[in-house]
């Protein structure tokens, strides 16, 4: 087994490196997500979460979906992570300490069980989905940005507007809550 890896490496080092390189962001993603859950200091948990968002963005880019990768980086790392951080900064310091200790005792065991259950569910859905399992995602030819624009504004414009309205409603709701709190 080691032998064929070695000669494959000799034949096309760049290809092997590429294959392994593709897994790097996925590994970082899993590690960061785990760190976010386990971290005791809440701010470090938020930063680990931001790292996992970044890793997800890089994963998209390495799989060829550049546009999606950039949007993921911009929206999640730029805005959502900052909102999470703001939430941490603005909440009461005394409440922060209480949530951190809830991890003791039954916490970890329940966590693992729930994790496995969701993993099983996901695998079941993927295997039974009509898409053939073997199809690769869009190969190297990344979909040019213009085509994504046409598709968004063309066939899916209704969905886009609906999402826009939903977001605005959410923002207005949050604003009203915040103002009353003041």
């Amino acid at each position: 087994m080691i032998q064929n890896i070695l000669n494959e490496l000799a034949a096309d080092p760049w290809g092997v490196a590429g294959k392994w390189f593709a897994l790097a962001p996925a590994a970082v993603l899993l590690l960061a997500a785990a760190a976010a859950v386990v971290a005791r200091n809440l701010v470090r948990a938020a930063l680990a979460l931001t790292l996992s968002f970044m890793a997800l963005g890089v994963l998209f880019i390495s799989l060829g979906a550049e546009f999606l990768g950039f949007v993921q980086l911009m929206v999640y790392v730029g805005a959502v992570a900052m909102l999470i951080v703001f939430a941490i900064l603005l909440t009461r310091p005394d409440r922060l300490r209480r949530t951190a200790t809830a991890l003791r005792g039954a916490g970890p065991a329940a966590g693992v069980v729930i994790g496995l259950v969701t993993l099983g569910g996901l695998l079941g859905v993927i295997s039974t989905s009509p898409l053939a399992a073997g199809t690769k995602c869009a190969p190297a030819a990344t979909a040019p940005v213009a085509r994504i624009g046409e598709v968004l504004m063309g066939s899916h414009v209704a969905a886009l507007l609906a999402v826009g309205v939903l977001l605005t409603a959410a923002l207005v709701g949050a604003a009203i809550l915040a103002i009353e709190d003041k």
Partner: protein
């Protein structure tokens, strides 16, 4: 001669690769070397610009204030960055006891990475673009979002009241100024029909003997002003240097940094400023386009760097003049003035485009932009009651 200068960088790269290929170096190492050379020159040029800028800024500020500025180290003080560099490296790097050491150490790194990554998509010359992305502008803002995380990490991990207030201000400022920044950039992208920076620069080619830059169109001028203001805010430069407002926050999120970490922040801020100046030049000042076709003999990358240095110089000029905004004015200005103006400019650009880019287009976009400006500034000055006061005197 000018043709040779024009393609000199590309020719040099091919010559080196040819030399290495001659030695029988395997293919994948050649690619690595090519990438390394491009990255090396990019970072080298911008570090050189940073060193030059750190002394030129102090000299321009000094001259505006009728004094000489650094002139002791080297001729006209040009070796001052070397002296600053040595000082920064040799200075003791104090980390506060109660600081969160890991995050405190990572903050400058996370600040430096986006500043350097962002240099990849700027078109420095006719065909001198390190990475040809067709969503280059989006890449610029996506990677630029990392600086907010870094500023927060710096502020929070220093465990110092000034730093936390500085970090909060920095995040609020960067988020609220990212919106108009993106909209102003998208206006130029929309008119040139592509998100790729090199395409935008080609679209600003000379129209007849006049330079076809976007800044000379009505909507382009307003979008350029909005982009310039937001660029000042993104790179935390005066009049938006609230995060490290000296007069009240000592040094904001940078209070607890000293030695080389502070130098890294300082470097990241300057390279970030140059990068956003580069994008401003690409979007509105015609990138490497010569102002007049007759001046075409000058190599294209000279034009690009000349314009970048001019815009950076104007940022220093603004820094010498304007005081700092207060936090509520700064936020109000972004959400209540810049954002609506951005949308209106977007609309004006569309009208300009569909009215045939000729005089009719000019009139339409000028009318829209003018009306919006008058309405918004009237509302703005009414709320701030900036009346001109008259004073009584007594004998």
């Amino acid at each position: 001669m000018s043709e040779f200068l024009e393609t000199a960088p590309v020719w040099l790269k091919d010559w080196v690769l040819g030399l290495l290929a001659g030695f029988g170096v395997p293919g994948w190492i050649l690619d690595l070397v090519a990438a390394g050379m491009v990255v090396g020159t990019c970072i080298g040029i911008f570090l050189g610009l940073f060193a030059l800028m750190s002394v030129m800024e102090r000299k321009i500020l000094a001259r505006c204030q009728n004094r000489y500025g650094p002139n002791r180290v080297g001729p006209f003080g040009l070796f001052q960055p070397v002296a600053d560099g040595i000082k920064m490296i040799t200075k003791e790097d104090i980390v506060p006891a109660a600081a969160d050491r890991v995050v405190h150490f990572l903050a400058p790194v996370v600040m430096m990475v986006p500043a350097l990554l962002v240099l990849a998509i700027l078109p420095y010359g006719r065909d001198l673009v390190p990475v040809q992305l067709d969503a280059g502008i989006l890449y610029f803002f996506a990677v630029g979002a990392g600086t907010e995380v870094a500023v927060f990490m710096a502020g929070w991990s220093s465990n110092n009241k000034y730093s936390v207030i500085g970090a909060m201000r920095a995040i609020a400022q960067m988020i609220s100024y990212e919106m108009p920044l993106v909209i102003a950039a998208l206006t130029a992208a929309m008119v040139s029909g592509s998100l790729a920076p090199q395409a935008i620069v080609e679209a600003q080619g000379p129209a007849g003997f006049l330079p076809g830059w976007y800044v000379f169109t009505p909507w382009g001028f307003v979008a350029a002003l909005i982009f310039y203001t937001c660029a000042l805010a993104e790179s935390n430069r005066c009049p938006f240097d609230l995060p490290e407002g000296e007069s009240e926050l000592v040094a904001g999120h940078l209070t607890e940094y000293s030695g080389f970490k502070y130098a890294t922040f300082f470097m990241a801020e300057y390279i970030g400023m140059f990068a956003i100046c580069g994008l401003f030049v690409t979007l509105f000042l015609g990138g490497w386009q010569a102002p007049l076709p007759a001046l075409g003999f000058v190599p294209s990358w000279v034009w690009f760097f000349a314009k970048v240095c001019a815009v950076a110089g104007s940022m220093v000029w603004v820094r010498a003049t304007l005081p700092r905004l207060r936090i509520d004015h700064m936020l109000g200005f972004a959400w209540k003035f810049l954002l609506p103006m951005g949308f209106v400019t977007f609309l004006a650009a569309a009208c300009w485009h569909y009215a045939g880019r000729g005089p009719a287009g000019w009139l339409a976009s000028l009318a829209i932009v003018g009306a919006a400006y008058v309405a918004l500034s009237a509302n703005f000055s009414r709320r701030f009651s900036l009346e001109r006061r008259v004073y009584q005197f007594s004998e």
